[in-house]
Symmetry: C5
Subunit: 357 residues, 5 copies
């Protein structure tokens, strides 16, 4: 089950500290931060695994697009050095390290700061996990922060390396868009996974519902709450970018952002539809179970109802009165059996007619 801890922000470490103090809040998912630098324009391309963060600073002032990707956000010194060199507001540094942020977008004129949630399905633990991704989009650089190494941006790196598509011809804003697009695409994969699980659960519901099914429905419901919480603010974030109020985003990129926005809406739509479905499944489960229980009780009650009057008849002839003429009759015993069988048959027919059986 998705623990409650996913919803409660553990901020205890921070209470009482002055604002803007970068403190890592979250679960450490990686040993040592890893820095990758990709620098390109239409004609040239350079890729470099940074040992120290200082190696990426010279790229800042080149006219080419520079993409600095940092995997791991728990090392205060790295974050602080980047902050200093790129002249970022202290609150941003704090937000990057606090992995419990709500998705948001902030425009600082010289750069745009974006926090997002990336979802991925942990095949081993069979649950949806979450990772925070921060993007800083400047004039000619993009800095991305992930909590751990992942393959989500691999296809973009590949596209830059190969020079396929229009990415090498466009600026840093297009790179920012491409990163957002990759993250939103990931949501679709999570939705497919969830869709598959819903379908499976529905089959179970119709063919073999049991208490465990209810449990799974609740689990799905909760994952849906979880998903919603990540997706709704995402919409605002991308809408904020797509409105085109920042001078950092060129007009030609806006249409691409509009496209990501449409995808986000589609994700939200699907999440809402799933929610409706899962809610419906809960109701269905309850009525299926209650129907079934009722059927059982009905059959049992019918059995009792048939035998209770018969037992009464047997009881009558078990009485010890001196004067009971039937007791002396030759065929009385067989007559009783006959009567009993007739009554039983009659009752069964009656119940069948009434569609009670």
């Amino acid at each position: 089950m998705i623990g409650i801890s996913k919803f409660v922000k553990k901020r205890g470490k921070k209470i009482g500290l002055p604002p803007g103090t970068p403190v890592f809040v979250g679960e450490r998912k990686i040993e040592k931060a890893k820095i990758t630098i990709i620098d390109y324009d239409e004609k040239q391309f350079q890729e470099k695994e940074g040992k120290t963060i200082e190696e990426c600073f010279p790229f800042k002032d080149t006219p080419t697009v520079t993409w600095i990707n940092v995997d791991g956000v728990h090392q205060v010194d790295i974050i602080e050095k980047i902050g200093k060199h790129f002249d970022l507001h202290p609150l941003i540094l704090e937000d990057i390290m606090n992995t419990e942020q709500r998705p948001k977008m902030e425009d600082f004129e010289r750069y745009i700061y974006i926090v997002l949630k990336m979802l991925y399905y942990d095949e081993k633990e069979h649950e949806t996990k979450i990772e925070q991704v921060s993007l800083i989009l400047g004039e000619n650089f993009v800095i991305s922060f992930q909590e751990m190494e992942g393959d989500i941006f691999d296809s973009i790196k590949e596209r830059i390396r190969s020079g396929k598509g229009r990415i090498r011809k466009m600026g840093a804003d297009y790179l920012g868009y491409a990163l957002l697009d990759a993250i939103v695409d990931k949501y679709f994969m999570i939705l497919e996974k969830l869709g598959g699980r819903i379908e499976e659960l529905e089959d179970k519901l119709v063919n073999d519902p049991r208490p465990g099914t209810l449990h799974e429905i609740h689990r799905l419901k909760r994952e849906m709450i979880f998903l919603r919480k990540s997706v709704w603010p995402l919409r605002e974030v991308i809408n904020g970018l797509e409105r085109g109020e920042s001078s950092l985003i060129q007009k030609s990129t806006l249409i691409y952002l509009k496209d990501v926005y449409d995808h986000t809406i589609q994700v939200i739509d699907t999440v809402e539809t799933f929610r409706d479905m899962v809610s419906g499944m809960h109701d269905t489960y309850l009525s299926v179970i209650s129907n079934r229980m009722n059927e059982v009780m009905k059959v049992l009650t019918i059995i009792a109802t048939i035998f209770i009057p018969l037992t009464f008849i047997a009881g009558i002839y078990g009485m010890n009165f001196k004067f009971m003429p039937e007791l002396e009759w030759r065929w009385a015993y067989f007559a009783v059996w006959f009567v009993v069988v007739v009554i039983a048959i009659f009752m069964v027919i009656f119940f069948k007619r009434k569609k009670w059986l």
Copy 2:
């Protein structure tokens, strides 16, 4: 049952590709794309079945209205050639081929791109199916893309051929309107079908409810979710057109678009009403079933309740005590029968009085 697959977008094929790459996403519904060209103005009219897409290009620059209808969107080459010739944005080509789009409208100044969902009722499989229709509305041309051949635009073709109505006198924007109108009209037919099924189901609910009925209610509920998902964005689409912000749409056409908009609102209204009704049916079903079950249990329990005390009486006189004066009495046996019958009658009357029977 409408499979979950209708709701989950299968985008797997696309993950990682650069945006704007047209890839067919969906179910291939037709073998080979079919191209029809209709070219007309008030005085002349020309209709042509295009073998290759190139045949329709000369029409682009004529002052007459040109309508190119493409049935089948899975052939990348055709879509790309059209895109090149009409100078369409790569994202549009991608959207045309991705049949999992959410209805939307985008204004590219030189042309308007519209994606819609067309619904039709598959009589064979007894379910509502969905098809994506894309429209590109330019200065003097309209390009429409359908997933497969259909008869939905036949009446419009007929009207153009015969010159009836005002369609031949108006521009490409009016043609665009006519196509939208035909699609929205189709929704009314689906609603009539659904309305019929709801009515049928209600009859069943009152006269002969059974578990299958519940199943059908759930199916209807789901179709409603499905319908809603297509209809609500449709409203935004048409509202976007009808606001008259595009120079491609003449003022005289706006009132017609307002009319389609009103129809869309009516469709939404009816869908919402249907939803309320189907929800109500679910509740009704549950109370009808539970009432019925209760009735059965009550009758059964009453039968048991009548016989249990009687059996006790028979049990009493089945005891083997030496000194039981009644056993010796001449008419005791018949007295017991009398008492038993009197008690039974009394209980029945009592239960009737209490309206328990």
Copy 3:
């Protein structure tokens, strides 16, 4: 029960026809259309039953206020002649004849077109019926279309005839307001009727609930859905007029329209309150019924529970063992009776104490 057909628009007749083709859609409620012309200003007054629609045309160009009332909208020729003479947009003619319109208001500068739903209670069939009323409000004329003859506008005619109130002193816009006011007043009568039925039903619910009551609740619920569907768009219509954007409506009339608007809000308020109440009644019904059923089952089960142990005691002394000392005792039989009675009394007291009885 209000048939589903009230909600599904039967548009089959229209599918495929060019827009703006007036086709009668609906139930024909009258044999032949009836035309009444009332022409007045502060000083003069003229009333005339028009044989043909042409008779009313001369009034168009007089400076006096002309009110043309048409009962019956199924005759295409009449509607078309009016349309031609008053130069109405073809879509309006279509809308007038399509009695399945959603209430709306459209401002065509030279005239305003209003569609409304009028409700009346059919005493014979005990249900709320609906009729579409169209109004065309011009500079100095009002044309009203009703589906059948009715008495709703009689009081207005009377006021014009007698010259009472300010109606004769005001222009066509005030006449339009008066017609709207008469229609909205009718809603209050429907609400009173519904209120009475709700009150009646509540009495039943408390004093004698039965399955039929549930049925009636559902019927009321549905009528409420029905009413809402007519009333909510009405609000937008009147709000549209009251905003005073049309030059056809004088400033002095606006305050009256504001008054009708307030009434509409009051109608909506009451409809919503009724809905809440009827929903509450459904819940109440279910809990009343279930409580009652539970009471019955409890009493029955208590009876069984009292007698089952007693029967066991009787069973014990019905055993045929050779050595059962009690069987020989002189007062054993009476002792058993005593024990049985004591146990029964004790159980009854116990159940009473526990408040189970």
Copy 4:
């Protein structure tokens, strides 16, 4: 129970009358209207019980603030005379006498018309009652209309008489504010009453729920619907005043109106909280009752379940077979008792273990 009649507007008397005709609609709560005139400025003060309405007219043109309070709105002549003298719009006169108005505020430039609902708790009939209060706020006069004599404005009168506070130093707008404030304060008293009743009901719910409790919950629910209907429009009314668009309200008074507005929001907040609570109580009641019923049924069924197998054993040894070895055994009878007791004890322990008892 709050009758439905509180929700249905009895407008029958008015149907068909020209608008602006003042007709008393409501329940007559007082014999003869009573008129009080208070005239003051910072230095002077005059109070007068008006015999006829004409007595108050001379005060109109003095520069002092004049407050005319009319208790009883059923006398058409008084209302009409005031209307004429103060030059009020006929629709206002109609609204004053129609005590079924929805709260609203209308700005007629020279004066502001306000209708409100005042609530009071009728200790005798144990229910919340409603009274309509109309205020007309002019340059230097305020006219207030109440349905009957009440003490709600007494403290304000007292403050004017004594010259305490700032009321004597301020204008008519401040007096208007003071009246509004007094009315809104009354709502808090109603809320306290309701809060007390909710608390009481909750105690009952936990300690001794019974069908009557459900009835009371429904009654509270309905009173809440009732309250909401009065309070929500009140908010719009005061918001309308507080926006400061009228020149009749001085800037220094706006902050006081803002204060009343905050109080109104607080009332709405509390009403909504109460609604949530009462809804929750309904659910709690149902689960408490159903739990209890289930407990009863369980205990009863357990008793039956223990004795039925025992009765079977007794039945076995009641059989009359010739060859039943046990019957001859010396201690068989006692053995049976032993077995019976052991089985019973075992079952009780088993049920206890399973936590069924």
Copy 5:
């Protein structure tokens, strides 16, 4: 249980008093008000425990930032003196002393008045308690009012004393922000507490649900209602500040306020998620309990159903007919036992097959 009294405003003391009269409304939580004065700028720092309120007045006109913290708001004289010296509006004084205020923010140009609710968890009484905090933010002073002494602002005092962070370099607006931030941080602690309790409750729900669990769910539900009521208006308050319309707040502080605003949104998000979860728990509880009860009833009924037919068989051979051939048979008795056992086994198998057991 959180008493209803938390929701009903006890305003009885105030009814009828002129507005702006400061009267203490609430529960007195402290004996004597305590005044602390902190005065600082970048270079100097001064802290002082004020004996009388007059001691803090000289600080008003210094250019340094002055923070006056008053613990205890029940002493009218102190509040009035502050009001007089700092020239505060009488309504503010009233609001400070009325601890039942709804959170709000009011801009009086020369100063901003803010009322907030601070939550803290009372470990002794195991419930969330509420305290009202008022802030007055002027050009170079901040006055804060708490109901009782608390440690919430201690870390801020510490930061000022030590000169850590940027607080000493910034103005009064930053101090105001720091106080707000401390209060909002407190909400996260309450949420963690609540989250822990929800988690605990969920464990109970799955492992050992009982009526007490329902009670606790209701309690949580109510605390949630309570929390929401404090949090939602808080959002408006901070949004009002963050919009930057007041000249008292410098641009550089706005970004910090935006940060607090984000935190508030996060708090609201979490509260809403918790609400969804607790609602879900209620449903789960009901289905768990009902499932369990059904299981019990089913098992009991099955036991009865097995024995009732067996008892019938025993009853048959307990009959006293003269001619019952079986009675004479040698092995009849054992045959009966055999039949009885076979029937019982058969029924158990049958029920197992049907998955009823």
